[in-house]
Amino acid sequence: MKDIDLLQKKNRKLRDFAETMGSSGLAFTGLIGLFFLSILVWQIAAPTFIDGENGEIPPANEFITESDYELEWDYPNIDSSGELTTDPIVLEISWDDGDEVHELQINVISQRDVYEDIYLNESGLSTEIVEVGRKTKFHIYSTLPQSVEVKQKSGPVPSADETGKPLVSTFVIEYDVAVLYDEGIVFEPLEILGYGTLIFLVVTFRFPKPSMLRFIQKFTGKERQLKGLFYALALVTIIAGNYSLASILAALCWILSATMSTSLTKGIERLLHSGRELSETSRLKHSISNRDGLLMWSNMLLVISTLFIPLEIYIPFLTERYQDIFSPYSSGIRAAFYGTIWVMLIAMISAIPISVGAAIYLEEYANPTKTTKLIQALVTNLAGVPSIVFGMFGLAIFVKQGGIGWGLGPSILAAGLTMGVMAMPIIVLASQEALRSVPRSIRESAYGVGCTQWQVTKDHVLPSAMPGIMTGSILAMSRIMGEAAPLVVVGATAMIVFDPEPLAGLVGGNVNFTVIPIQIYFWTSEPDPAWHSMAAAASISLIALLVAMNSIAIVLRQHFRRRLN
């Protein structure tokens, strides 16, 4: 007996020791990690987000001027062996301010699709000799605040393109205050009111207090008018906010508030009707019909609004500044950020419905024949294929013209579709897994009340599998968000100083785009260490985007899972 007591005592001591050591050790390592993380963030954030190297960072909209000239020569100054036969084309570039004259020599070479970009700033031209393909776009970007004059001094005159530009040998790069981002007002008062109303209603929904309920009860019987008022406010908000993102989100807040207030007043009425008091708030939620996932949509909207607030409140690095080849610290990732968002959106829209459909077919409908087994095996193997291979696939199918190619060019559309194809096997497998784990009893009870197979699938199996499908989809999306390799193949470019056009591949326009991982990749390969810190800043942005996406996933998943308890 005594021995046992001793042993127990010893044991308890050991256990307590392990307990304290374990938890304090965990806390300590956690703190160290946080410390390093904050140092890292500080190191990166201080120069990029806060000071800039010289303490001043001009925002993009103050200096970007861009012109696009398509020069076309027909082998003017080379022979078949590549030797220069005529005078080289020389442009004389000058501007008011300086007395210097810069000369730019352009050599037209026989290779196709070679092009250079020229940048102008106070210190001159970024290069003095350029080699371009004989039929290619030729960009001149100016960061100067005044007009630039360009004269051709020697060499053959380029032929005109069909727009007639430029046949003349003298052209002028105009100083153009192209305001690229001018949503000056951050939040209109109406928008704030919309968000406030929705937050109030959500809080009342979640944590009802008698005083709040008494306030809402006043509107019983006036639901119609209240609804009308909210809808009107939604309209006014959107118009007053000039259709900005914030105003659209706020209008959605008003619309949800309208539905939510009706549902609350009805719930209160029902509560009182069944002989209860307003103070029995715990009963309230039983009497509120939440069938349309009202609360979930409200939460979603609030989360999304919160996520988009950074867009509205001006993080120049993310949403204001383009890349500036001359001063890393005043560069930003605006082009890459929007590129990433567009690529993800297109990938999502193209991949998720198809993949979930395929999973439903394979899991619910297909008989296990040889063909379906083969398809299944293919899908399983596709999920493990290296991403660069998908890049080649995208290049062949989406980018190239002719044959099986769709001819979308190296555009966002092609990139999004490529990424979508890459995500597909992952989503299919995850969805299949989710569908398979729906308990038999749910199917049986649904068939038991006389459902057809489609009704069982759409009303019961799919909702139950939703959390799994969502998780799979978001994981796939997160994975492709960080991928650079396939997009290098598809043709993302490193140096973009304009907003990408998502549909350019289809309707024409400038197809060039870039995404954050590509930006990071190119910046890390620059020799100047300043670019490396920019690359780190871009990485942090990428991580922040991923966290944002995953939090949306968590909200959705929690909602659906709560319904399945």
Binding site: L271, S274, R291, E444, G448, V449, G450, C451, Q455
Partner: protein, 271 residues
């Protein structure tokens, strides 16, 4: 082989299948296989209208299989195939071209483990009604209320119809499932050991409910509890190794069974 020997001894006692009530369902000479394994051997059985028919027997003898034939639930199992004929009101329901949705609407089912949909109580009951009858909101409200009342659960859930059905207690869930079944006004209700997952009080509530339900519906219940069969049923069939050994009025089966096997089973001297 042992089984073969035993089954040889079982006499065919389904010769006399007369019942006093009208026939609702008639099962004739049903053989059923799961793959190559035969689960039912030539079962014939009448189901009396507006009465409770109980199926008893040791586990694995094919009670659930027989029950699941009556609303063609076995069609969901790909390896299951059968031979024989089942008629409802003299209309065959086993044919290839029988409308399964229509059959399952007429023949509702309550399962062994309560399996409400992961939806609100209201939607659990309303779902099937919406599916088949497309009622207006007011009509649906009325039907839901009536069904919950008939399933004797209205008092407990009247003010929380929008709460999840899966959040109820086991006994309440089972009554909710019954409400869901009767909401679409079937003719027949099949119950597969509806009380086996419930405590004695919930069981008593369900049994009381069954006696109430037989006024409007024809009930077939599978149970492993002989006392339950004796309490609620009008007719009882005893099954053994895929055969219907004896079928008669419940009083007769429990007081003076014809068959030696039945006698041994109901007196608990079995195996």
């Amino acid at each position: 082989m042992n089984n073969e020997a035993q089954t040889e001894e079982i006499p065919d006692s389904t010769r006399d299948l007369d019942i006093e009530h009208d026939r609702k369902l008639m099962i004739e000479d049903l053989d059923l296989w799961y793959g190559d394994k035969q689960a039912l051997y030539g079962v014939s059985l009448p189901i009396a209208k507006n009465s409770v028919t109980a199926l008893i027997g040791p586990s694995g003898c094919g009670k659930s299989t027989l029950l699941r034939m009556m609303n063609r639930m076995n069609d969901l199992i790909p390896i299951c195939h059968y031979d024989g004929k089942i008629t409802m009101d003299d209309v065959e329901i086993t044919g290839k071209d029988a409308d399964l949705v229509e059959i399952r609407k007429k023949v509702g089912m309550v399962f062994q483990r309560p399996n409400p949909f992961p939806k609100s109580i209201y939607d659990n009951v309303g779902y099937g009604v919406k599916l088949h009858f497309k009622p207006t909101r007011e009509e649906l409200d009325k039907i839901v209320e009536k069904s919950l009342k008939r399933a004797a659960i209205w008092k407990e859930v009247s003010d929380r119809q929008h709460e999840l059905g899966t959040a109820l207690s086991g006994g309440q869930q089972q009554r909710l499932c019954i409400a869901r079944t009767i909401a679409i006004e079937p003719d027949v209700i099949l119950m597969d050991e509806p009380c086996s997952a419930l405590d004695p009080i919930a069981t008593a509530a369900i049994e009381e409910l069954i006696l109430e339900l037989k006024k409007d519906f024809t009930v077939v219940i599978v149970t492993h509890s002989m006392s339950q069969a004796a309490r609620v049923s009008d007719y009882t069939g005893f099954m053994y190794l895929g055969r219907l050994v004896e079928f008669d009025k419940t009083d007769k089966i429990f007081s003076d069974p014809d068959n030696e096997l039945t006698k041994r089973y109901i007196t608990g001297r079995f195996g």
